[in-house]
Structure formats: structure tokens, C-alpha cells
Symmetry: C2
């Protein structure tokens, strides 16, 4: 079983920063992030992860909205950790492949083989407008670019043979020039000569992670992803998603064990059930509906005025086909509200807590049991742990939930390997020079 | 007097990696960089600096050619240093302003106000071919883009008022939305809505550094740069450059003290003159002429076959007007070779050592005297220290040259401030919201 800690300043619940014990400046604090990464590493987590988008995500009043750029922040965290993997989100729509391939190779070198890349195509017009566009590119076109971006990036990472550097002082030859070569990529989106200006890194390629669950997203995951983050609100949906991804990986000619599926869960931990439920309720009470309502309206592509806090969602919403943004997120929200017959206020409470991920409020034993139940029933290879409140949520999870899973033989008590790929049981990509 | 350490794995001399004591893998080593930064910080240097270009710089045989991306590497160095400034080179031609403004703001937040940006437009067709172009953009057009890039970046850094974040838990207001605003930039090169997704950083803007010495470069420096790195082979040329930059800054309406001029010097330190000269000669003996000849031919835009190692440069070389790359570097090399009537072999030796910067081989006392002489005679506000061999060159400089300058009252014995701007005596940019 694998665990990733999804880093998120004071926690994944949007009102977590308002709790008396929360540091509302944690989003910009190196020390706060170092503490989270250390707690996760002491608990032998596989990795920590940072989400990202090159845009101000929401009204800056709502919660801490300043976000340190992930590759920069994780480079700093590499220094005060030794074994845990470091997964940064970066956009294929708003970066150049040479620059991004190089930053991830740099992080992999610096961290001794612990870099991971959560590949996103970045939904939303607001982000597009920070990069010279009027509107976001079409969903399909973002994925076409992402596919070619990955072709370029992997060629660049493979542009030095593993044995290129010889450092022969006597002969005055640092690297063998016949073991470093240009990539001469020519495609509809990119023309890149290469080679990369970095030797092949400890992992060769960073661990490739993906989280989109649309049809395009799942096809992309089947081709490229080695780990998949996903939001699935029920066991049945998790099982269906898990089977679907593994099937698509096989259809793409890959070993299904080389695509690790990690549903997100939002634990709200109390020493008693009552304590957990009280914390959960306190958090929901602290949500300011004005922000949440505006964001829900934006996701649904409707005017906020048509949303009544104490009524269900309107009947006439756009279909997923009309959504060019985060398609799977849209469908998840609409289906959930309709299935459970939620009012807008109830829906906002649930979204504010886990943003569509499964929230568990309970005792450590209840949470360990649920995790094991998912794991034993074909719903997950591990979990993306998204504590509602940080750092207390990961401290409690590490101290009280992880030992239960270790006692049951489900989770490691020590790291076996040194690289992120080793933690997830994934192979190091072959040297393309050796294949010739 | 100010000192910057120009980080460069085993040293600035191209053959330094071949010395018996050099670690030929230092270019990829976090520990090696941490050591250099710590030695410089213990000696109270203002800053450390990393050059960069998004391309493989030279034949990978010649010297360690893998380069970790500077913002990522300096984020890691921020963790193991406390006071020294961290200056990263990044290209305005091959980045998007939103991404780069954000990475520097992130580094400034993470380091507590120690980030600096060496702004480059990136010469060379090889780099252009990693970004979808056939050839490098024209020199003038690169500087036009750079100018607008800086307009966008500074607007983004100023898109949050200093007092925007209130973190009012009781009211449920994290930041005041009327103190965060879009920039709505519309120009010939960029359209960027903003705001940045980060509050204003400790220094507000990273220290802006520039190093091009062409006419376009000096005009750009006069408008934007707060520190200028420059290669000047003689005292007279340094004085002329110094006066020129200060004059241009005044003409641009700026305080000349707010543009700090830092010529590069390459110290080769021995306890005796003879020891220094022997190290210098040993380094030159280790240069492999095949690589240096190819690079010289490329800089001069001539066929390598027309260069005879034991003859002067050919008479019919292109004029600076025809050079679209590093214009000032081209002129410096040609003038130098002709003035000193150097053979190609002699020129290669001098370039391999200091790449056009002033090389001083001597005792600590001789080096301290030369530095003082430049400083006292209007040639420099400080120096970009580029040891021929690292780490030994900076260890010797810190242990033997710095104390002499401290005894003379020329260099600090303790840091007064905490930010990079404070070290260089430069103001923090005003809050644009306060100006309204």
C-alpha cells in the first residue's frame, strides 16, 4: 500500500485556516512545509505532492491563496528530507518542454532520484489570460499538446546515455560526445533540437503522475501515467475507475502494475467518533458561503443568482460535452448533488471539505478499516492523503492510523529503496542508447 | 565594497576539472554547491550567482556541461544559508513572464528576501532551436521583448498591496480583495491579466541584475538593472564602463548609486607569486585546444579551418554590426587579440582562464591591493569573484584576501541587513497601491 501526502498549507478544508490553532501564513512558510514533509517521511510515506495552476485560484479573501511555485518549493524540501518522493504539478499548456524537462531533471539530480511530475493541462480561461490567450484552448487540443509535450520531454531526458559522463581527467574528456545527441523533434506543437543540458538523472525520468479523469484524461493516463490521483466519492466508483485505468493500461500495451491508482481521501480524525464529527461540523460552520457560491457557479457555468442556497441545483445545467474545463470534476459535482438530493448549501459544505474527494470523519481504527476495505476490494493501490486540517491531520494520521496498517502488514515500516520509483515499485526507464 | 561569488562547479578556468583535487561531478552535486555558498556566506559576501542558458553550452567532452536549473538549485541553497543573496540567471526570450515572475517571487518568499534575477536575452541559434525557432531573434528584438517582459513582471510583483493579507479569522477574510488587482497588460509581446498568485514578497521585487554590455544592453541596464556584472580586461576600460553606466542611469532619471557596477575578476591565489603563476600555467597547459578552437570559431562566426593556432587572428573578421549574438563579448575578444598581438593559441589560453574577465595571479596581498586600486579609482562598486579553481579559490579568497580588505575598513565584517537589497544598499520598491 502506498501513501502520498497532498500538501496544502492549513489543510484541504477551505475553512481550515480559520481554526484557532492554524497558522494563516503557512502557505508561504518554508518551515511549515518542512514540518509536513518530515512528518510524512517519518511515517514512511512514498511521497508528498503539490497541486498547482498559474493563476490566482479563487477570491483572495476566501483562504490563503498565495502559492509558492512547486518545483522551487520542492527543491527546498529536498534538502531537509532524505527518502520521501517530491511530486510537483506543472502545466503542459503554459510551459515549454525544454524548460520543464530541465527543471524536473534538476530536481531529480538534487534530490537523489525523488522527483515526480503531476502532469496537468490547466483548465480555465483565467489561466489562459495570463499567457496571451483570450480563452482556454479546447480540451482535446490541450491533451494533444500534452501528448507531444511528453514525447519531447522523454526524448530530452534520454538524450544522454547513462554512461555518457566518463570524467577522464588524463585524456581531457568529460563526457563522450557520441553518447550525447540531439533529439531533432519536429511535430505539430513543438520543434526542439536538444540535447538536454543535463546528464541522465538518477530516475532517468521523474515519476509521471496524472489526475484528469475525463475520457481524454484517462487515455492520456493509460499512455503516460505511472501514478494516478483521482477523486471518487464511493467505493463502487473507485472500483470502477480502478478497473478502467488498469484495462486501458493493458490496452496501451503496458503492465497494469506500472500504473498505481491513488484515490484521494480526506481524513478528519478524532480519538472518538464524536470528536471527529465535531471537528467536521466546526469546519463546515466556518465556510463563508459567499465565496463558495461564486466558485460553484463558475464550475457549473451558471450565473450565481440562479443558485438558491436552500434549494437543489437547477434542472437545466450544461452537459459535460459543453464543458471545456475540468470535465470530470463537473460531472462528479452534478451527479453527487442529484444522487444525494443535496441543497446548494449542503453541496457547498461537502465541496469545501474535500472538493469531491471521499471525506472520512472517524477514529483511527475506523479510518484504518476503511482504507483496508478499499485496498482489499480492488479500489486502490494506495491513497492520496488530504487531511482536512494541517499539520494536525497528518500528525494524527502518522501517529495513529499508520501504525495500525503497519501492524496488519499492509504498509512499510522502513523504506526499501532510495528513489521515488523504488517506493512505488516502478521501473527506471531503459537507456535508449542501450537499445540501439 | 560588495562581493558576489560566481558559482561554477570546479572553477571558471575551463580546465579546472582536470586538476587532481577537483571533483568532476561537482556540477551536479548539491553538497558541492552548499559548500561554496557557505564559504561565501561565512566571508560575508553579498551574494552568490549562477549563469545560465537553456542549451548545451559546449562540446560535452570539454568540461562538466550539465547545468542544474538556477531557480531550483538556489531554492535548495536557500535552506542551508541564512543571509547571503541568491542570484539566478533566466531568459526573457524563452520564458513567459507570469511563470518567471512567480518563480522569483517564490524564491524571495522562501529565502526571506534574498532573491536576485540576472536578466538575459539569451544569444545563440542553438538555444533558439530548443524553442521552436530556426535562428535566434534579432538582438534589438530580444531587447524589446526584455523591456516589455520587465514591465509585466514588475506589475505582477506589485499586483498585491503590501497590506493585502489580513488573515482575519473572525471575519473570514484572508486577504482584502480590493488590495489585490489584475494588471491587464496589453503590449506587442505580451497580454497578461494577472494578478500574480503570490502576495508581495519580502523584497517586493528580486534584485534586478544585468550583464550585457552592448549598446542595447547598456540602455536596458540604465532602465532596469540595480546591479551590473561586466567583463573589463583593464582598469581604464573598467573606469570608462563604470562612468558610462552611471551617466546612463542618471539620464534615465535614476539615482546612480542604485546601479551597482561589479566587474568580474578571476583570482588565481598563491602564497607566493611563483606559486600563483605555477597554478595559472598548469591550468593553461591542461586546456585541450580542439574544443577551445571550435568555440572561438563559433564566436567569431568563421570556419575553424581559417584559425591557425600559432598565428594572429585573420584580418577579415565580421564587424560587430553583423553579430546578432553576444556583441560585447565578440568585440572584447577581437580588440584584445589585436591590441596584445596574440596568437590564436595565446588568445585561447586567456579566454579559457577568464573568458574575457580580468585574471589576477598573485599573493593575497597583491590581489587585495589590486581590488582596492580598482575600487578607489572609480572602476567598481564591488566585484564578481570568479575563482579559476573551486572550491579552493574561494576558500583562499575568504581566508586570505577578505581579512585584508576588512582590516582596511573596505569590506563588512558582519551583515547589517537581512535581504539582498539591504546588502547592496538598494531600496525596496514602493507599494504601487500606496502611490494611488
Amino acid at each position: 500500500m502506498h501513501f502520498n501526502l497532498f500538501l496544502h498549507d492549513t489543510g484541504h478544508h477551505e475553512a481550515s485556516w480559520r481554526l484557532p490553532g492554524s497558522d494563516p501564513y503557512a502557505n508561504l512558510s518554508l518551515e511549515a512545509h518542512q514540518h509536513l514533509a518530515r512528518v510524512a517521511e517519518d511515517a514512511k510515506f512514498d511521497s508528498v505532492f503539490l497541486a498547482d495552476s498559474p493563476v490566482l485560484w479563487s477570491d483572495p479573501g476566501r483562504r490563503p491563496s498565495g502559492k509558492l511555485e512547486p518545483t522551487v518549493l520542492l527543491a527546498a524540501l529536498a534538502v531537509t528530507t532524505r527518502r520521501i518522493g517530491l511530486i510537483a504539478t506543472a502545466s503542459t499548456s503554459y510551459n515549454e518542454p525544454y524548460n520543464l524537462a530541465r527543471r524536473f531533471a534538476s530536481l531529480d539530480h538534487l534530490s537523489g532520484g525523488r522527483a515526480g511530475w503531476n502532469i496537468v493541462t490547466t483548465a480555465g480561461d483565467a489561466a489562459a489570460r495570463n499567457f496571451g490567450l483570450d480563452d482556454q484552448p479546447l480540451h482535446r487540443s490541450r491533451y494533444e499538446r500534452a501528448d507531444e509535450f511528453l514525447q519531447v520531454a522523454t526524448k530530452l531526458w534520454d538524450s544522454w546515455a547513462d554512461d555518457a559522463v566518463v570524467a577522464d581527467k588524463a585524456a581531457g574528456v568529460h563526457a563522450r560526445h557520441d553518447r550525447v545527441r540531439g533529439i531533432e523533434h519536429r511535430g505539430p506543437w513543438f520543434r526542439v533540437d536538444g540535447p538536454l543540458n543535463l546528464p541522465r538523472s538518477p530516475q532517468a525520468h521523474p515519476l509521471l503522475v496524472q489526475a484528469g479523469s475525463s475520457e481524454d484524461g484517462k487515455e492520456f493516463a493509460a499512455r503516460w501515467a505511472e501514478a494516478v490521483f483521482t477523486a471518487q466519492p464511493t467505493l463502487a466508483e473507485s472500483q470502477a475507475f480502478y478497473a478502467d485505468i488498469k484495462r486501458r493500461a493493458v490496452a496501451a500495451g503496458r503492465d497494469p502494475d506500472h500504473v498505481v491508482v491513488l484515490p484521494g481521501i480526506v481524513p478528519v480524525i478524532g480519538d472518538t467518533e464524536r470528536e471527529a464529527r465535531e471537528l467536521d461540523a466546526e469546519l463546515d460552520r466556518l465556510i463563508a458561503p459567499r465565496y463558495a457560491l461564486a466558485q460553484l457557479a463558475q464550475t457549473l457555468r451558471v450565473d450565481p443568482a440562479v443558485l438558491d442556497l436552500d434549494a437543489p441545483l437547477p434542472a437545466d445545467l450544461p452537459g459535460e460535452d459543453e464543458i471545456e474545463g475540468a470535465k470530470s470534476r463537473y460531472t462528479l459535482i452534478v451527479d453527487w448533488a442529484r444522487r444525494d438530493n443535496l441543497t446548494v448549501r449542503q453541496l457547498i459544505g461537502k465541496l469545501g471539505g474535500g472538493r469531491g474527494h471521499r471525506t472520512f470523519a472517524g477514529t483511527p481504527l475506523q479510518i484504518a478499516d476503511t482504507i483496508q476495505h478499499y485496498f482489499d476490494n480492488g479500489a486502490a493501490d494506495g491513497f492520496n492523503i488530504m487531511p482536512a486540517v494541517l499539520p494536525s491531520g497528518i500528525e494524527a494520521f502518522a501517529a495513529k492510523v499508520v501504525p495500525l496498517l503497519q501492524e496488519r502488514g499492509l504498509f512499510r515500516t522502513e523504506y526499501d529503496g532510495t528513489t521515488l520509483r523504488e517506493h512505488y515499485g516502478l521501473p527506471r526507464p531503459a537507456d535508449r542508447f542501450a537499445l540501439v
